[in-house]
């Protein structure tokens, strides 16, 4: 199947290095300390952050830093066919771990010992790039909650199809079978860029 036309346009009319339309809102979840909705094209993700608050499971309490927990789930209606088990499957557990490690690297956890920060991310519409949208939404939600962070983390996916590198894959391009990578970038304080994660699917 042709993913990049001879004129250089992708299936949705974008150029190979063009991103989808981005949209972000913060403060949507009234009960949460911080929340954000992030859209990348048709992929829509909502993140809610609670914390810093008392640790619920005292055995996990750390006396010198905060405990960061993250839960990723997809809403039943987020994909084309209704999902039967949105949480607890291997993919969700792996993505939860990846998001937690990314955000933990940026949060100044030593400023909030003996406390817990919960990040809940849920995908409302899935059209490729959900991992990136989740990291972006989680960053905004953490800033809305006023949790001290070293840096902002932004994320995007990229792949290689029809001998062309493509930026920000949607679902059709993602499931085409080519290699793809999700990269999280920290805009370090002096203006250089660093890489924090890059799982290869």
């Amino acid at each position: 199947m042709e993913f990049v036309s001879p004129e250089g346009l992708r299936l949705d009319g974008r150029r190979p290095t063009e991103m989808r339309q981005l949209r972000a809102e913060i403060g949507n979840v009234a009960k949460a300390d911080g929340s954000a909705v992030f859209e990348m094209g048709n992929t829509k993700v909502i993140a809610a952050v609670y914390g810093p608050r008392e640790v619920q499971n005292k055995s996990q309490q750390m006396s010198d830093q905060a405990l960061v927990r993250c839960e990723y789930s997809m809403a039943n209606f987020s994909t084309g066919d209704r999902m039967r088990k949105p949480k607890g499957d291997r993919r969700s557990t792996e993505i939860s771990l990846v998001i937690r490690q990314t955000m933990e690297a940026c949060i100044l956890t030593h400023l909030m010992p003996r406390s817990q920060i919960d990040i809940f991310v849920q995908v409302l519409q899935a059209d490729g790039g959900t991992r990136s949208a989740c990291i972006n939404a989680a960053t905004l939600a953490l800033q809305d909650a006023g949790i001290p962070m070293r840096d902002i983390v932004t994320s995007c996916s990229a792949g290689y199809l029809n001998s062309t590198p493509l930026l920000d894959l949607n679902y059709v391009e993602d499931s085409a079978g080519g290699p793809d990578v999700t990269v999280g970038l920290r805009l370090l304080s002096c203006g250089t860029y660093g890489y924090t994660l890059g799982p290869m699917d």
Partner: protein, 236 residues
């Protein structure tokens, strides 16, 4: 990638975590005081909380930000809700990371014989005495010299929760525009806690006062005046 020089003057602008505010290698032999939201990393001062960068002469920098959750600071006056009573302390929720303790003797003229009895759910106006990270904060119902000074139980009124930025605006001097406009036409009393809780008391217009305050968070002075006028039209 090459490093960009960080020379932009960001005072009074919105900043996000990671922005470099000052380059210390070019400022020698100066003392700078850093307030909340800023952190020193070797030779640069960077932002750790999103907000507006402020500077006050001669040498104080800080980031003003507004959140729902409160970070306890010594000498802050806050509104707390009693959640439990133990032998030595009252457990008071001040919307921070942990529950705060209020010693039963921390009242004016407090002795073991006249310990006040607070019901669970009572609202108290208290002062933060100790606030170390990782430990439960300690409160007191007296000021530094041991007098009561209006601290203690707030009996009447309607309590609502806002963000920390709004409560700082309500307590700023000169008086913030929304309170000034309301004061011209109505009589009311409010107790503002720096943890985002406000208790409003008024003989008949308490809901109007609380709605006006809650609406005024992101409005400029002129917009606040217009908003208050519109609300006051309704009761005429």
């Amino acid at each position: 990638m090459e490093a960009k020089p960080s020379t932009a003057n960001l005072v009074d602008k919105i900043v996000v975590p990671g922005d470099v505010v000052l380059d210390l290698s070019s400022m020698t032999n100066q003392t700078i005081k850093l307030g909340g939201g800023l952190r020193q990393e070797c030779d640069s001062v960077s932002v750790i909380k999103a907000g507006k960068l402020r500077f006050s002469k001669p040498n104080k920098y800080w980031v003003e930000s507004s959140q729902k959750r409160y970070v306890p600071c010594v000498e802050d006056t806050v509104l707390g809700i009693v959640v439990d009573c133990k032998a030595d302390n009252f457990f008071v929720d001040i919307r921070g990371p942990t529950i705060a303790f209020l010693p039963v003797l921390a009242f004016e003229g407090g002795t073991r014989r006249n310990i006040p009895k607070f019901e669970i759910g009572s609202l108290l106006y208290v002062r933060v005495v100790k606030a170390n990270p990782g430990m439960n904060p300690e409160l007191s119902c007296t000021d530094a010299s041991g007098k009561a000074a209006e601290f203690g139980l707030l009996k009447d009124g309607y309590m609502f929760e806002t963000s920390t930025g709004l409560s700082r605006m309500l307590l700023s001097s000169p008086t913030c525009p929304v309170l000034e406009e309301l004061g011209k036409q109505l009589s009311f009393e409010i107790a503002v806690g720096l943890n985002g809780r406000v208790n409003a008391e008024s003989p008949s217009t308490v809901v109007l006062v609380s709605n006006a305050i809650m609406n005024s968070e992101s409005l400029s002075a002129v917009q606040q005046k217009i908003m208050v006028d519109k609300l006051l039209q309704r009761i005429k």
